[in-house]
C-alpha cells in the first residue's frame, strides 16, 4: 500500500530533545554513533541479509526518524528504503584477517557522522570470510534512535526477516502496527512527563542536586575544562570466586546487581574525587506501553543517582538502605526527563559536557541471546569516543559472570589514574563481598606509593652535627672566605675562632647543652658567629627581631624558656642581653660529646589561636637535608650562597649551614633592602652569587627587575624558591631563558619539617609549566598522600600530605598538647616508634608520582561550587601588558564567595582593566572571572615574604563597598545593532526586560537548553554557527556579538 508523500510529523520525547541538544554541541557529530555487532550464520547470502535489514528498517519506525531543529525540535518518518538503497558496506576477507577487518569496519562505520536532519540515522556493515566460516552484521545507529533495550526487538526482527517465515504481506501490516505503537508510546511518555505532573517532584529533586559538591576526577592545575572525547577502555572480568561472592552479596543484602554496582562505583568515584557525595548517571527505561517493548528507540531517561558516602557506615547499611533508596527514587522517577531536571537545577557547568554528572554506569545486560536463531552472538564494541569523564559498563558474560569496563576521557584522566580507579573498583567490590559489616572507608586499601629513586648519588653524612661539619671545613681550608658582607669578610679560621669566643662567653654565662639562646644581631658576620657559638654549646638558637612588639617577644622568650639573647635591642623581662663584642676570651674548641642529641634551632610559626608555636628542630633532619642539598645543588668551595631569608625563617638554614659545610661563601644581602628588587639584583650580580633562595612570591619581581636592568648573572647556577605555590609566567621564563645553565628549584616544606620535597626545572625554560609541582620527597623523607578514606591515595586522588622519615622536628617547644595533635604515630611505617607530621596541605600525585600542590585543606577557595586555584587567575593576569603582579583573593558575597583581582602596574604605567578581563575570559572558565578588579600600588607581604592575602581580602571589602555605593543604576547601552538585537533575542528567551551587554547571561537565567534555542535562532537570523564552548567562556551579549561578527566575517570570506 503506498504511503502519503508527506510523512506525518512525529512528536519526539524530551530525552531525545536533550540528546539532540548535547549532540549538536559536541565538537564531532559521531560521538553518539552506537555499534552493535551480530554474529550470524555464515551460509546466508549477502542479498538475503540486505533484504532482511531493509525489512528491519521498515518495521522499526524509530530508525526512519529524520529530525528537525527549527522552528521546534521534532521528527518525521521517512519511507522504508528499498534494499538497493540501504547504506551497507560489504567486506570479504581471509579468515586470518577476520578480527582485524572487523575492527577496521567498526572504525569506519563509527567515525562517519550521521546527519540526523538529513537521515538516515543508521548504516550497516556486512563482513564475511572468503571460505564461508564466519559472517557478521554491524549496525551503526545514532543513539537518538536506539537504547540498550532496543537490542532485543532488533535482533528478533532481524532473525524473523532472515528466517523468511513471515507471510509476504506481514511486514506491511507490522509496519503500520509498529508506527501506531510508536505514536502511542510517545504520547504516553509526554503525558507522564507533563510539567504539571512532575514539576513539584523536580523542584525538590533539583534542590538536593544543587547541594551535591562538584566532582573533579584527577584534580590538578590547568586540568582541561573541556573533554577531549577520545575514549580508552580498560576491563576486568570477575573470576568464578568473585562472581559467586558478588551474587551472594546481592542476595544477602536483597539488592540487585545494579544497586551493588551503583554503590561500589559511587564509593570509588567519591574516593577518587575527594568528595562525600557523588552523582552517578544511569539510563532508566522510560518505556510505558507494553507494545513499546517490541520497539527500537531512545526510550530512556538518563538520571542522576545521588550516592551519599558516609565513610563510617557499614557496607550493609550503605548498599541495603542508602543506595537502594537512591536507586528506587530514580526508578520511580523514570518519567521525569533529564531536560526537566537540568532546567530546574540550572547547573553552572554548561558547554558540551553533560551538565549534571561526569560519571555514568550502564548495565549492558539487557539482551540475552536466545539459541536457535540466525544470530549467534551480540556485542556492543566501543566506538572510540568517551561520552563521559568516566563510564562503567557492566556486561553479563555467558549468563554467568560479569565484565566490568571502564571507559575514560583521555584528555582528563591519565592511564595510570584510570588504572588506579579500576584497582579501587576491584578492591572495593571484593572487599564489600568479603565482609558486609566493615566500614565503607575500609572497602579500600593503601595504594603503594611510588618507589623512591635510588639514592646512589647521595653521599653519606660526613658528620654527626652541623658544628662539627663547619669545624672540619675550617681545618681543611682555614683561609677561605666563609662570610662576605659589604666591606667585611670572615675566613673560616676567623669564623670558627669568633664562634669559639661566643661559646666560651655563653658557657660562662651559664648556658648549657639543650638550652635555647636568642639571636638579635645586626649583620651577617655577627649573626653567624652568634649562631655557631650557640650551637657550639649544644644549645639551640632562636631569632628575636627587635622590630616585633614587646609582648610578642616576651611570649616567644617565655615559650622558648630563653634567658639570654646575643645582640641588642631586646628588652624583655627576665632575658639578659649580651653584646657579642664582649666575648673576647678564647675557649676550648670543643663541642659537647652528645651534641647531636640537642636541637639546633627554634622557629616560630603562627598558631591559629594567636599564640605562636615554637618548632624545635633537631640535628638529624638538618644533617639529612644538608647532605641532600650539597649533592642536589652541587655545592662546593666555589659556592656563593646569597643570604636573603630572615633568621626567623627556616630557609636561612639552607642558605647558611650547608654552604659552610661545603666550604663555600655565604654572601650578605645587605646593603640591599629585602624588598628592593633592583638593588637585590645588582647585589647578586656584583657579588657573583651562584645560589639564590627566594620566597616564591619574590621570584617574579626579581625576574622583572633583572630583565628591566638587563642584568648579567653569568654565575647564577641555582635559584631556589619555596613558601607558597610557585606559578610561572612568560616573564619568569624569559628571565631563565636568558641565563645559561641555571636551574629553578621548587622546594616545599612546612617549618615543622624544613624542606622535604623538591622539583627541579632545567633545560628550555619556555617549556616549564606554569603551576610547578612540589616534586618528590628527598632521600630519607617519606611523603604520604592520605585520602578521605584514611588510606594512601592512588595517583590523581587528592589527599592530605603527611610527612615521615628523617625530617621531623622534635615538636612544639614546651607544648606537648599541640605536638601530639600534629605529630602522629606513623601507622604506615610499620615500626612502633615512627612519627609523621600532618601538614594540612592538599596534594595529589600525578601520573608520574610527582606531588602536585592543590591548596590548603582549610582555605580552599570554592566559587559557585567550583574549586578555584587563585594562582591560575594570577598567572593569566600577569600576562597582560603593564601588569607587574596580580593577586587574586576571595571574599564572601551573599551565600557564595566572589573573586577580587588586584593588579600592581609596572612603574609609571596604568593597567587596562578591560584588557585584563578579556584575557581572563579567553583563558579561564566563567566562574573564575573576578567580580572586581582594583589597582594596587604595592603588594603587601608578610614578614617572611609571602603575599599577604588576608590584608588584601580586608582591603577588598572596603573597596567593593565603596564601588557599590558609587555605581549608578544603569540603563543598558549597546555598542551596535548586533549587540542590541542579541540582547533583545536573549531578553525574549529569558523573559526579562533588558539585558546589559556586559552582564553574564548565566546570571540572567541562561543555561544549556535555552542557549540551544538561542543559537538556533542566531543561526537563522545571522546565518552563523556560534561555538558553544567559546560562548560559555564569556557568556555576555557583548562577547556573543563579537563572536557573531567574527563568524559572519569568516563566512563571507
Amino acid at each position: 500500500m503506498p504511503h502519503p508523500s508527506q510523512p506525518p510529523a512525529l512528536p519526539i520525547t524530551e530525552s531525545q530533545k536533550g540528546l539532540l541538544v548535547i549532540d549538536s554541541w559536541l565538537p564531532r557529530r559521531e560521538i553518539y554513533n552506537q555499534i552493535i555487532q551480530l554474529d550470524v550464520a555464515p551460509a546466508l547470502p549477502f542479498e538475503h541479509i540486505r533484504n532482511a535489514l531493509a525489512e528491519v528498517v521498515a518495521v522499526q519506525p524509530a530508525l526512519r526518524q529524520i529530525f528537525q531543529l527549527r522552528p521546534e525540535l521534532g521528527a518525521r518518518l521517512a519511507d522504508p528504503p528499498s534494499p538497493a538503497d540501504l547504506p551497507i558496506e560489504r567486506v570479504v576477507v581471509e579468515t586470518a584477517e577476520y578480527e582485524r577487518a572487523t575492527g577496521a569496519l567498526v572504525e569506519r562505520l563509527a567515525r562517519q557522522p550521521i546527519e540526523l536532519t538529513v537521515g538516515p540515522a543508521y548504516r550497516f556493515g556486512h563482513l564475511s570470510t572468503r571460505d564461508g566460516t564466519g559472517a557478521r552484521i554491524l549496525l551503526c545507529l545514532h543513539h537518538v534512535v536506539c537504547d540498550g533495550l532496543s537490542l532485543g526487538p532488533l535482533v528478533r526482527d532481524l532473525e524473523a526477516a532472515l528466517a523468511g517465515d513471515r507471510p509476504r504481506t506481514a511486514p506491511e501490516a507490522l509496519r503500520t502496527e509498529r508506527e501506531q505503537a510508536l505514536l502511542r508510546e510517545l504520547t504516553a511518555q509526554q503525558r507522564a512527563s507533563a510539567p504539571d505532573r512532575v514539576l513539584p517532584l523536580v523542584k525538590t529533586w533539583a534542590e538536593r542536586l544543587r547541594a551535591v559538591p562538584p566532582l573533579v576526577l584527577s584534580p590538578r592545575p590547568h586540568r582541561p575544562t573541556e573533554p577531549g572525547y577520545r575514549g580508552e577502555r580498560i576491563a576486568w572480568t570477575l573470576d568464578d570466586r568473585e562472581t559467586t561472592a558478588f551474587e551472594e552479596t546481592c542476595r544477602a543484602l536483597a539488592v540487585s546487581p545494579f544497586v551493588l554496582l551503583t554503590g561500589v562505583f559511587g564509593a570509588v568515584v567519591a574516593r577518587h574525587g575527594g568528595v562525600p557525595t557523588v552523582l552517578i548517571g544511569s539510563p532508566f527505561s522510560a518505556r510505558r506501553t507494553v507494545g513499546a517493548f517490541d520497539l527500537c528507540g531512545y526510550f530512556v531517561n538518563t538520571l542522576p543517582i545521588t550516592v551519599d558516602v558516609t565513610w563510617q557506615s557499614t557496607v550493609a547499611e550503605f548498599l541495603g538502605t542508602s543506595v537502594r533508596a537512591a536507586v528506587d527514587f530514580c526508578r520511580s522517577s523514570a518519567h521525569v526527563t533529564f531536560n526537566q531536571v537540568v532546567a530546574e537545577v540550572q547547573p553552572d557547568r554548561p558547554g558540551s559536557r553533560n551538565p549534571l554528572f561526569g560519571c555514568m554506569l550502564a548495565m549492558q545486560d539487557t539482551h540475552e541471546q536466545a539459541t536457535g536463531g540466525a544470530v549467534t552472538a551480540v556485542r556492543e564494541p566501543a566506538n572510540g569516543w568517551a561520552k563521559f569523564d568516566l563510564w562503567l559498563g557492566a556486561t553479563r558474560v555467558d549468563g554467568r559472570t560479569w565484565l566490568l569496563e571502564l571507559e575514560y576521557d583521555t584528555a582528563l584522566l591519565a592511564p595510570t589514574v584510570a588504572e588506579g580507579i579500576l584497582h579501587s573498583l576491584r578492591t572495593a567490590l571484593n572487599r564489600a563481598a568479603e565482609d558486609r559489616t566493615r566500614p565503607l572507608a575500609d572497602l579500600f586499601v593503601d595504594f603503594p606509593p611510588p618507589a623512591a629513586p635510588p639514592p646512589a648519588h647521595v653521599r653519606p653524612a660526613e658528620h654527626r652535627t652541623l658544628q662539627e661539619w663547619v669545624m672540619a671545613t675550617a681545618r681543611r681550608q682555614p683561609g677561605a672566605v666563609a662570610l662576605a658582607e659589604e666591606g667585611k669578610q670572615l675566613t673560616y679560621q676567623e669564623l670558627v675562632a669568633a664562634a669559639g669566643r661566643v661559646a666560651a662567653g655563653l658557657r660562662r654565662s651559664g648556658v648549657t647543652a639543650g638550652d635555647v639562646v636568642a639571636v638579635a644581631t645586626d649583620g651577617l658576620c655577627d649573626t653567624i658567629v652568634a649562631v655557631l657559638g650557640i650551637l657550639r654549646c649544644g644549645a639551640a638558637f632562636v631569632s628575636l627581631d627587635p622590630a616585633l612588639p614587646e609582648e610578642r617577644l616576651a611570649t616567644m622568650a617565655r615559650i622558648a624558656r630563653c634567658r639570654i639573647v646575643v645582640g641588642k635591642g631586646i628588652d624583655v623581662p627576665g632575658v639578659r642581653t649580651v653584646d657579642p663584642t664582649e666575648f673576647v676570651a678564647d675557649g676550648p674548641q670543643t663541642i659537647p660529646t652528645d651534641a647531636e642529641a640537642h636541637p639546633a634551632y627554634v622557629m616560630f610559626t603562627s598558631g591559629s589561636t594567636g599564640v605562636p608555636k615554637g618548632v624545635l628542630m633537631g640535628q638529624r633532619p638538618l644533617i639529612n637535608l644538608a647532605t641532600w642539598q650539597l649533592d642536589a645543588l652541587r655545592q662546593d668551595e666555589n659556592t656563593r650562597f646569597f643570604q636573603y631569608a630572615p633568621m626567623s625563617f627556616d630557609v636561612c638554614y639552607q642558605e647558611i649551614l650547608p654552604t659552610l659545610a661545603s666550604g663555600g661563601t655565604v654572601v650578605s644581602r645587605e646593603p640591599a633592602d629585602r624588598r628592593d628588587f633592583p638593588a637585590l639584583v645588582r647585589r647578586v650580580a656584583d657579588t657573583r652569587v651562584t645560589h639564590l633562595f627566594l620566597p616564591a612570591a619574590g621570584l617574579r619581581p626579581f625576574a622583572l627587575s633583572a630583565l628591566g636592568l638587563r642584568a648579567s648573572l653569568p654565575h647564577l647556577r641555582y635559584v631556589c624558591v619555596s613558601g607558597q605555590q610557585l606559578v610561572l609566567d612568560d616573564d619568569i621564563r624569559r628571565f631563565f631563558t636568558g641565563l645559561t645553565d641555571c636551574a629553578l628549584v621548587n622546594l616545599y616544606g612546612p617549618t615543622e619539617t624544613n624542606a622535604v620535597t623538591v622539583h627541579h626545572l632545567t633545560g628550555d625554560a619556555r617549556r616549564w609549566p606554569s603551576h610547578v609541582p612540589i616534586g618528590r620527597p628527598m632521600p630519607g623523607v617519606v611523603a604520604y598522600v592520605v585520602d578521605q578514606t584514611g588510606h594512601l591515595a592512588p595517583p590523581g586522588v587528592p589527599g592530605e600530605l603527611y610527612l615521615g622519615g628523617d625530617c621531623l622536628a622534635e615538636g612544639y617547644l614546651n607544648d606537648p598538647e599541640r605536638t601530639a595533635a600534629a605529630f602522629l604515630p606513623d601507622r604506615f611505617a610499620g615500626t612502633a616508634d615512627a612519627r609523621m607530621y600532618r601538614t594540612g596541605d592538599l596534594v595529589a600525585r600525578d601520573e608520574d608520582g610527582v606531588l602536585v600542590y592543590l591548596g590548603r585543606r582549610d582555605t580552599q577557595v570554592k566559587v559557585r561550587g567550583h574549586r578555584v586555584e587563585l594562582g591560575e587567575i594570577e598567572t593569566v593576569a600577569n600576562g597582560v601588558a603593564d601588569v607587574r603582579e596580580a593577586v587574586a583573593v576571595a571574599r564572601p558575597a551573599g551565600s557564595d564567595v566572589e573573586l577580587v583581582l588586584f593588579v600592581h602596574p609596572e612603574d609609571g604605567r596604568r593597567v587596562d582593566h578591560a584588557a585584563v578581563r578579556a584575557q581572563l575570559a579567553a583563558a579561564l572558565p566563567g566562574y573564575m572571572m573576578p567580580a572586581w578588579i582594583f589597582d594596587l600600588s604595592y603588594v603587601p607581604t608578610s614578614g617572611t615574604g609571602k603575599t599577604d592575602r588576608a590584608a588584601l581580602a580586608a582591603r577588598a571589602d572596603g573597596l567593593v563597598a565603596q564601588a557599590t555605593a558609587d555605581r549608578p543604576d544603569r540603563v543598558p547601552t549597546y555598542a551596535d545593532e548586533t549587540q542590541r538585537e542579541l540582547a533583545a533575542l536573549w531578553a525574549d528567551i529569558l523573559e526579562v526586560d533588558t539585558i546589559p551587554a556586559d552582564v553574564s547571561l548565566l546570571d540572567c537565567g541562561a543555561h544549556s537548553l535555552n542557549a540551544f534555542v538561542a543559537f538556533a535562532e542566531i543561526q537563522h537570523r545571522f546565518g552563523v554557527t556560534v561555538d558553544v564552548a567559546t560562548f560559555f567562556r564569556n557568556p555576555t551579549v557583548a562577547a556573543l556579538a563579537d563572536l557573531v561578527r567574527a563568524r559572519g566575517a569568516t563566512a563571507r570570506t
Binding site: 542476595r251 545494579f258 532508566f284 506501553t289 526508578r331 548495565m363
Partner: protein, 86 residues
C-alpha cells in the same frame, strides 16, 4: 487471556535462581527489574497497557509480583516500569 497463579509461578521460575515462595524478596530470587518488565509484557492484557514506574518500585517480594501481574492481566492499564541502568 486468563492467567492463573500457577501460570505466574511457572513464568517467574524461568527468571528465578533457586526455589522461592511468596515471601521471597525479588533480589534473593535473582529477579531484577528487567525480568519484571518481561513478565509484564508477557501477561499484559493489551498492547496499550501502561506501566507505572512508581508502582514497580514497590514490588519487593514474589507475592507482590504475582499480585501486580494479576492486576496487569485483568485490566488494560496499570503496572510498573523501568529496567534500571540500561
Amino acid at each position: 487471556m486468563s492467567s492463573t497463579l500457577a501460570d505466574f509461578d511457572a513464568a517467574i521460575a524461568t527468571y528465578a535462581i533457586g526455589s522461592f515462595d511468596d515471601t521471597t524478596l525479588l533480589p534473593e530470587a535473582g529477579i531484577d527489574s528487567l525480568s519484571l518488565l518481561r513478565l509484564a509484557v508477557r501477561f499484559a492484557g493489551t498492547e496499550d497497557a501502561e506501566i507505572d514506574a512508581a508502582r514497580l518500585v514497590e514490588i519487593r517480594s514474589v507475592g507482590d509480583l504475582k499480585a501486580w501481574l494479576h492486576q496487569l492481566a485483568s485490566t488494560p492499564s496499570s503496572g510498573g516500569a523501568p529496567s534500571d541502568g540500561r
